[in-house]
């Protein structure tokens, strides 16, 4: 795709340099002459947005690291850690520290917004398919590194969520059989989350962005080898299909980057804390567990998958099952190029796949929502009912049972019970005092009564039952509670998780074999021309 280089050095110096290190030629071929499909839409500007975000995060991060102190020790004259206090110092005393800190923390969220759009874009236009598998896998690797970096960074201010997030995640690794405990202790640098943990997390948080930058170079390299895919999904066939990267793509990217920066700035300057959690302004306290431990919004879908598994499967307990599924949710992305069997790239021409894709996007967002909720929250309107049964009137008869051999106990109780029922007892009740002693009571005569109470929550039901029982005043009242169908957040998360995996493991593999795609245009130029009548007015 890249073709022969068209770079012609213009000056003596560039000619000299070109013969020694053709770096200007590389830049020219990659970012000026590089042919891009002419039909790229705004979804294709997110790669440029991501590149900008990576630079922003690294620059602000390096400045923050000049002032941040990774220590869990208590800072002089207070109760919080030195790490927590150093972040406060950045916000209050470092010149423009508040700005740098806001950009970096809001920037993490913006980075994820951009990466999710970028990934959904790739899914929709089939950008993971041959020949772009390696490009896609490198992207997945970047995403994995981003998740790790963001998690590590979130621990640094050493607030409550920092501490408890780190606790939850390291504990997860502990669930891995055999080696889990060792990995966990190795990561924590000891047997609990403490100063060594913070120090290594800081070190890794500083390291990983540069690894991301390195993998991004490979990512863009792979992109420039295969060439960009495009919304039509058809390969570039002739020069007519493309335009040079500069100025065409550069200008479109620049406009999109500025729009993205507008949204970014709105958060940085006017809503700096909107995307964070209030609990992280509370200094870390190992003795107080927050009411709800939740990760940052961008990890919520995976958190929901983790918690969706509330049952054991054979030797795999629910905790390990959740961990496996959570990692599988990312792992499945790596093998996606070989799961989708359709030869049509763009979902524009795959009507059924397109619907499944839209559902997939909704499911992913719903998983994020579920991850933020209390898992036992009941979502459907339910009426809790209980039946109270008792006998009106009648006489209470009590029989003592005493045996010398505990082995005879059951038989003795049975005999005594039978005696009572034969005497006309409408119900009997056995209270075992020891292995050899029991009392059997029975109500003889009386009329069976039933009353039903109902309420909208279990607490209310218990209150209603208690009041009803007082009203009844019978010695023994049976309460039969009817458990209605409760559709909890966990149930919802299970359904959503099922769809998440089904999309990759069932829908994409099978659909590709069975569906009848729409008519795919032969070339990009034709695809553009076919839409011409509609856009002609706008073009003029």
């Amino acid at each position: 795709m890249s073709g022969p280089s068209t770079y012609v050095p213009q000056t003596g110096f560039t000619r000299w340099l070109d013969a020694r290190l053709p770096i200007v030629r590389l830049a020219h071929d990659s970012f000026v002459a590089y042919p891009t499909p002419r039909n790229l839409n705004y979804w294709y500007t997110f790669g440029a947005i991501l590149s900008m975000m990576l630079v922003v995060q690294i620059i602000t991060g390096v400045v923050l690291a000049m002032h941040y102190v990774a220590s869990t020790g208590v800072h002089t004259g207070g109760y919080s850690s030195i790490a927590f206090a150093s972040v406060q110092r950045i916000d209050r005393d470092v010149p423009y520290g508040w700005l740098i800190q806001n950009i970096h923390s809001v920037g993490a969220s913006m980075f994820f917004i951009a990466v999710y759009v970028h990934m959904f874009r790739g899914l929709y236009y089939g950008s993971y398919k041959a020949p772009r598998e390696v490009l896609w896998i490198l992207g997945c690797l970047i995403y994995l590194l981003m998740v790790a970096t963001a998690f590590l960074g979130y621990t640094l201010p050493w607030g409550q969520m920092s501490f408890w997030g780190a606790t939850v995640i390291t504990n997860l690794l502990g669930a891995v059989p055999v080696v889990g405990e060792s990995i966990k202790n190795w990561l924590m640098g000891g047997f609990s989350i403490d100063n060594p943990t913070l120090n290594r997390f800081f070190s890794l948080h500083y390291l990983l962005p540069f690894v991301i930058a390195g993998v991004t170079v490979l990512h863009v390299w792979a992109l420039h080898v295969t060439g960009q895919n495009n919304p039509a999904g058809v390969p570039v066939k002739s020069a007519e299909d493309t335009v040079p990267f500069t100025p065409y793509a550069t200008m479109k990217d620049a406009f999109a980057v500025v729009l993205f920066m507008l949204m970014f700035a709105a958060f940085v300057f006017f809503l700096p804390d909107a995307l964070g959690h209030t609990d992280n302004y509370i200094p870390a306290n190992p003795l107080v567990t927050p009411a709800h431990i939740v990760p940052e919004w961008y990890l919520l879908p995976f958190y929901a998958i983790l918690r969706a598994i509330d049952f054991n499967v054979g030797p795999i307990d629910s905790k390990l099952g959740g961990v496996i599924l959570m990692f599988a949710a990312i792992a499945v992305l790596f093998v996606l190029p070989w799961l989708d069997t359709s030869s049509v790239r763009s979902m524009r021409y795959r009507p059924i796949a397109r619907i499944c894709f839209v559902i997939f996007v909704v499911v992913s967002i719903a998983l994020g929502w579920a991850g933020a909720q209390n898992p036992s929250l009941v979502l459907n309107p339910v009426e809790y009912r209980a039946d109270l049964n008792w006998a009106q009137g009648g006489a209470l008869r009590v029989a003592e049972v005493q045996v010398s051999d505990p082995g005879q106990m059951d038989a003795a109780i049975e005999a005594s019970t039978k005696e009572l029922t034969d005497a006309g007892a409408s119900y009997t009740y056995v209270a075992r005092e020891s292995g050899t002693r029991a009392t059997v009571s029975g109500l003889v005569g009386g009329e069976m009564q039933t009353q039903t109470v109902s309420a909208h929550s279990t607490d209310e039901l218990e209150e209603a039952v208690a009041t009803a029982k007082q009203g009844v005043g019978a010695p023994i009242v049976e309460v039969a509670r009817h458990t209605p169908f409760e559709f909890t957040v966990t149930r919802l998360a299970q359904l959503l998780t099922a769809y998440y995996f089904a999309f990759f493991l069932i829908i994409l593999p099978l659909l590709g074999l069975r569906e009848t795609p729409g008519r795919v245009p032969d070339t990009i130029a034709k695809a553009v021309l076919s839409r011409q009548p509609k856009t002609a007015g706008a073009e003029a």
Binding site: R38, L40, V74, H75, T76, G77, G78, Y79, S80, A85, Q88, D91, R92, W98, L99, N102, V243, P247, Y248, M251, K252, A254, F255, V258, L259, L262, A265, A266, V268, F269, F270, P272, D273, T278, D279, Y281, I282, P283, A291, N389, Y427, T428, Y429, V430, A431, M448, D459, E463, V465, A466, K469, I476, V477, E478, V479, A480, A525, V528, L529, E539
Partner: protein, 288 residues
């Protein structure tokens, strides 16, 4: 039926032990129209000053401001005791006042600010005597951190029946509802609703999660804090002012943030217009 009735006996016992419904849902904080709200909002300087009076005369007995120094009170942009140097029109003498007198006043360095100095000097700071190396006490300076009421967490808990009065420097950020919550909390004490079980050593507050807080009602009588302006220090007024002060304490750079935000947004909007025009120009002859 028989078997189920028999099971009922267990239920009878379980019921006796059923917990009273002690946990009550906390009320949503009352929305108060603070002047700093919204993108154009600014601090009400007089309210922040009065709020400081409430903090230092009431809350400081238990709560620290560990991330703040006395100098912050006289710092730009919104320190409540930021002072200005102005020239007296009649005498020509230099004077330091709290009012900027239009654009004539020049902000005074917090170290030279008499208001900040006197606030700092009123505090006793434990330090190490440089000559003897022994611990001593000295009057505070603007550069000192706010004096904490307790030397450490254990001492703070011991004095408060096991509960820790949290640091207040970022409390507004650390609670849902922010300043509204702080204000409501201070005004939310009262009798528990009927049927709610009393918790020993705690006070009922309808805005506190769980209903029972270890902090005794801190604002109880009118005039508890003495205000230097004419405002009447009603309980409501003190709660509002101290919440306003704590918002400033958590976000002292708000004015810079918002004003820079406007410049940046306007710049980006212009840049967006410019890049969009260039983009259209570049693509005008290309079909896409």
């Amino acid at each position: 039926m028989l078997r189920r009735l028999i099971l009922a006996a267990a239920a009878v016992l379980a019921f006796a032990a059923a917990p009273a419904f002690a946990e009550t849902e906390a009320e949503h904080p009352e929305n108060y129209p603070f002047s700093f709200e919204g993108v154009f909002g600014t601090y009400d300087r007089a309210s922040v000053q009065r709020g400081f009076a409430v903090y230092s005369q009431v809350c400081a007995a238990c709560h620290a401001l560990e991330h703040m120094s006395y100098r912050n009170l006289g710092e730009l942009p919104d320190g409540p005791f930021l002072a200005y140097r102005v020239t007296n029109e009649e005498t020509g003498a230099q004077e330091i006042t709290l009012t900027p007198h239009g654009h004539h006043g020049k902000p005074v360095d917090p170290n030279d600010n008499p208001y900040v100095r006197s606030i700092a000097e009123a505090a006793t700071i434990s330090a190490i005597d440089r000559e003897t190396g022994q611990p001593t006490d000295r009057p505070g300076r603007p550069s000192d951190r706010f004096r904490s009421p307790f030397p450490n967490e254990s001492a703070a808990r011991l004095a408060n029946g096991g509960a820790l009065p949290p640091d207040l420097s970022v409390i507004v950020n650390a609670r849902h509802g922010g300043a509204d919550y702080i204000r409501s909390l201070l005004l939310g004490y009262g009798e528990p609703p009927a049927g709610v079980e009393v918790v020993e050593g705690k006070y009922y507050n309808r805005y506190f999660p769980g209903g029972w807080i270890a902090m005794a009602p801190p604002l109880v009588v009118e005039g508890q804090a003495s205000y230097s302006d004419e405002t009447v220090a009603t309980i409501d007024q003190m709660a509002t002012d101290v919440a306003h002060f704590l918002e400033w304490a958590a976000d002292p750079k708000m004015a810079h943030r918002k004003s820079m935000g406007f410049s940046v947004m306007i710049f980006l909007l212009l840049l967006a217009g410019l890049t969009y025009t260039s983009y259209r120009l570049v693509w005008r002859n290309e079909k896409h």
